[in-house]
Subunit: 438 residues, 2 copies
C-alpha cells in the first residue's frame, strides 16, 4: 500500500492521528485497553472519531461503550452512519440502550428505532438511511442544488432515488446523468424508471449476492407498499459475503460458527465452539467400533485385514469430504441449485466409479504382496464400493440438508468422514466374510 | 428481487431482450449451445451485447469467440470494458489473438497489449483503463466539462484522478466535491493530496482486501515511477475475494482448485482435480496400516483394542481439522498473522488439553464396560494425548506452510486427519503395550 502519490512504501507504523484513515486507527484501538482507547478516541476530531468507532469490531464497540460517559457516547453515536449506529444499538444491554436514547436528538432516536427494529439477517438489518431522495417534479438545477446541501451527510449520492409524495420509489437517477442533463428539464424526464429494489424482509445474503452479480454500488430497500425505507451499499454487501464464507468455512471444519475474531476469542469460547461437534462425532466413531466388534470372528481369523482398515475407511472419508466441500460452496455461490441434484448425482456416480477403480488397482497390488490374492480381491472390491458410496453420500448430504431448510455447510468434512467410516467397516468386513470365510 | 418500483415479485422468467440486465442475459446464454448463443447475442444492441458478453464466465467467452466471425468478435471486443477485454485476450489461443488484433482500432489494440502484459494475480491483471484524469491547472468548470464528454465511456467517474504532465498521480477529486466547489477555483485547490494507491505488481488479494477494509469504490494503480496506469474497482475486488474464498474452500476439502464452475465442469476435470489428493492420502493411510502391523502382537493379544481404534484416530483427526480450518481462514482474512504463532500455540494447547480431558472422561466410561479398567486407562490416556497432538498439528501446519511461502489452505482437513491417524496409531498402541504387556 502506498499512502503518498509518489508510490513509496509504507515503512513507519501508522501513528494515532487524524491524518490516518479511520480503518487504520480502528486497528490500533483494538490493541489498546478500553480506558486507553477511550482517551485516544476522544482526542480525535468528533467526525473522524465516530467514523473510527464505526470500523471497530462489534465486541470492541460494546466494551468501549461501557467506559464512555453518556454524553461522550451520545456525541459519537450521533455522528455515526445510520446502519452502524443501529447495529451498535442492537448489541447494547437494555440498560445501556435506555441510557443512550435521551442523549440523542429526536431525528437520530427515530432513525435508530426504525433501523434497529429489523430482524438479523434481513436487508432491513444491514440497510442505511444515509441516502438522498428527489421529487419527480424538481428541475435538474433544483435537484443539484438539493444534493449540494445534503451531500456531506449522505453515504452515497452517486445514485439518488426518486420518490412520490407517499415515498413510493418511482425511479432513480445517477449524479452523472444530472450533470450531463440540461438544467431546465425535470427529474422525471431524465430518471431511469425501472429501478432494481429489494424487500426489507429479504435475506441479506441474497441481497449481497445481487449487488455482487450486477456490479452495483447500492440497492434500494422498499417495504410491502413499495415505499423506500433504506439502501444497502456495496461495502456492506462485501462484509456479508465475507462473513458468510467464514461461517461456511467454520462449519465445514466442524466448528460452531464464531462471530468474533479467533485472534481475540477466549479459551472458553474456543472450547465451547468445538467440544459439541467433537463429542457428537465420538458417537459416530463408536458405531464404527461396534461394527468392528460385530466382525470380531473375521478379524481374529485374518488379523491382516486390520492393516488395510485405515486406508479403506480413510479413502471413503476423503472422497466424501471432497464432494461435500465442492457442493457446499457451489450451493453457497449459486453455481449449483436444488433442481440440479439429479444431474449432479449421475455425474458424481461417473466420477466416483473412475476414482474408485483407480484406487482399487493401486491398493490391490500392495494388498497382494501383504496378504495374498484373496485378500487383494477383498481390498480392491471394498475400495471401489467405499469410494463410490462415500462420494455419493458427500455429494448428497448438502442437498438433503438444503431440502430441509438446514444449512448445507453442516455437512462438514468430519461428519461425512464419520458416516463413511461406519459404512466402510460394514462394507469391508461383509465382503471379507463372504469371500474369505465362505 | 423486484424489478419494478412497486415492489412486486419477479414471477415470469427473464426473457432474452435488451430490457433485461446483462448479468441476467449472460445466465441465459450460458445454458445455450454456442451457435444459438451467437445468434441471441448478435440480436442485442451492440453495447448491451458487449456488456452481456463481459458477464459470461471465461470458458463460455472462449467457446463463443470460436463461433463468432472475426468482424463480430472485434466489434464486441471494442465495446467491452478494458479489464474484461484484456482477460479474454489472455485466454485466447495465439492464433485467435493474431486473428483478433487486426480487426481493432489502434487505441483498443494498445490498451489490450498494455493490460494483458501484467502477470496473473497482480493488481495490473485486474485493473481497468476506464477512468478519468484531470490536469491540476483546470478550473472546476473546465473539469466538469471534460468529465461530461468522457463520462459515458468510463467505468467510474465518481472519483477522478489528478495527474501531472508526466502522468504521475498527484491527487484525486470526488465528483461530489467538484459539484460543490466554486466553478472558478482550480482542480489543484479542491483536490485531495494524499491518495491511497497500489503498485502494479502488488498482490491482487491484498489490493482487494484494502478496498474491503477502507470501504472504497476504486483504488488507483501506479507503476514504479508513480505514474497512474489503471484503477481497480470494488466489483473486481469482490470477485477476487469470492474466488479466493472458493479456492481456499476447495483446498481445505483436498480438491485441486478449479477455476471453472463445478456445474459445468467435465467428468474428466472433476476426476483430475480429485485423484491426486486421494492417491497421495492413500500413502499416508498405508503408513497407519504399517504402524498397525508393527503392533501385531499387541492387537492379537487384545482384539478389544481394535474396537476403540476408529474413535481414537477419528477424534485426533477431527480436532486437527477444526484447528487447521480456523487458522486457514483467520490467516486468509488477516485476523491472525505470522507473528501471532507463539501466542496462538499456547492458547491452542490450553484449549486442546481441555477438549482432550473432556473426551477422555467420556470415552473411558464406555471403555471400562467393554474391556475392564486397564483398557479404560489406556484409552483415556491415549485420547488426551491424541486430541492434544492433533490440535497442535492442525493449528501449526497452516503457519508452517505460510512460513515456506506455500498456501496455508493446503493444510486440508483430510491431510491433517491422515497425519493424525498415523500419530494416533503409534500413541495408542505404544501406551497399550506399555500398560497391558509389561
Amino acid at each position: 500500500m502506498h499512502d503518498d502519490p509518489i508510490g513509496g512504501e509504507h515503512l513507519a507504523p501508522v501513528s494515532f492521528s487524524a491524518e490516518n484513515h479511520p480503518a487504520d486507527l480502528a486497528e490500533l484501538l483494538e490493541e489498546m485497553a478500553p480506558e486507553a482507547a477511550r482517551v485516544a478516541l476522544l482526542a480525535l476530531p468528533l467526525g473522524h472519531g465516530a467514523e473510527t468507532f464505526g470500523y471497530l469490531p462489534p465486541e470492541i464497540q460494546v466494551a468501549l461503550a461501557r467506559v464512555l460517559s453518556r454524553g461522550e457516547l451520545a456525541a459519537i453515536v450521533t455522528e455515526m452512519n445510520g446502519d452502524d449506529r443501529a447495529d451498535l444499538y442492537n448489541r447494547l444491554t437494555p440498560e445501556q440502550q435506555e441510557a443512550l436514547l435521551p442523549g440523542l436528538a429526536q431525528a437520530e432516536r427515530e432513525d435508530i428505532r426504525r433501523l434497529a427494529a429489523h430482524q438479523e439477517g434481513t436487508a432491513g438489518a444491514i440497510m442505511t438511511s444515509d441516502y438522498a431522495t428527489l421529487a419527480p417534479g424538481l428541475t435538474v438545477l433544483q435537484a443539484i442544488g438539493k444534493l449540494r446541501l445534503e451531500a456531506p451527510d449522505k453515504e452515497t449520492i452517486y445514485r439518488t432515488y426518486v420518490v412520490d409524495a407517499e415515498r413510493r420509489l418511482i425511479g432513480s437517477v445517477r449524479l452523472q446523468t444530472l450533470i450531463l442533463a440540461q438544467p431546465q428539464r425535470t427529474v422525471e424526464e431524465v430518471m431511469e424508471r425501472t429501478t432494481r429494489a429489494v424487500g426489507v424482509e429479504d435475506d441479506q445474503e441474497e441481497v449481497a449476492r445481487s449487488i455482487a452479480k450486477y456490479d452495483i454500488i447500492a440497492l434500494p430497500v422498499v417495504d410491502g407498499e413499495g415505499r423506500l425505507v433504506g439502501i444497502v451499499t456495496h461495502d456492506d454487501a462485501l462484509d456479508v459475503l465475507q462473513a458468510e464464507a467464514t461461517e461456511d468455512f467454520q462449519k465445514v471444519g466442524s466448528v460452531g460458527s464464531m462471530a468474533d475474531s479467533i485472534a481475540s476469542a477466549s479459551i472458553a469460547l474456543l472450547y465451547r465452539s468445538r467440544i459439541y461437534w467433537l463429542v457428537l462425532l465420538v458417537f459416530g466413531n463408536l458405531l464404527s467400533g461396534a461394527g468392528l466388534a460385530f466382525f470380531e470372528d473375521t478379524i481374529a481369523a485374518y488379523i491382516v485385514l486390520v492393516f488395510f482398515l485405515p486406508v479403506l475407511i480413510g479413502s471413503g472419508g476423503n472422497a466424501g469430504s471432497q464432494s461435500s466441500t465442492l457442493m457446499v460452496r457451489a450451493l453457497a455461490t449459486g453455481d449449483v441449485e436444488m433442481k440440479d441434484w439429479g444431474r449432479m448425482f449421475f455425474r458424481e456416480l461417473g466420477v466416483a466409479i473412475l476414482l474408485g477403480m483407480t484406487m482399487a488397482v493401486a491398493i490391490s497390488t500392495i494388498a497382494g504382496f501383504r496378504g495374498g490374492h484373496q485378500v487383494a480381491l477383498v481390498v480392491a472390491v471394498s475400495m471401489l464400493l467405499i469410494v463410490t458410496a462415500g462420494s455419493l453420500i458427500g455429494m448428497s448430504m448438502p442437498f438433503i440438508l438444503s431440502r430441509f431448510r438446514l444449512d448445507p455447510a453442516t455437512a462438514s468434512a468430519p461428519l461425512i468422514a464419520s458416516i463413511a467410516d461406519i459404512m466402510g467397516v460394514v462394507i469391508y468386513f461383509s465382503i471379507a466374510r463372504a469371500i474369505l470365510l465362505h
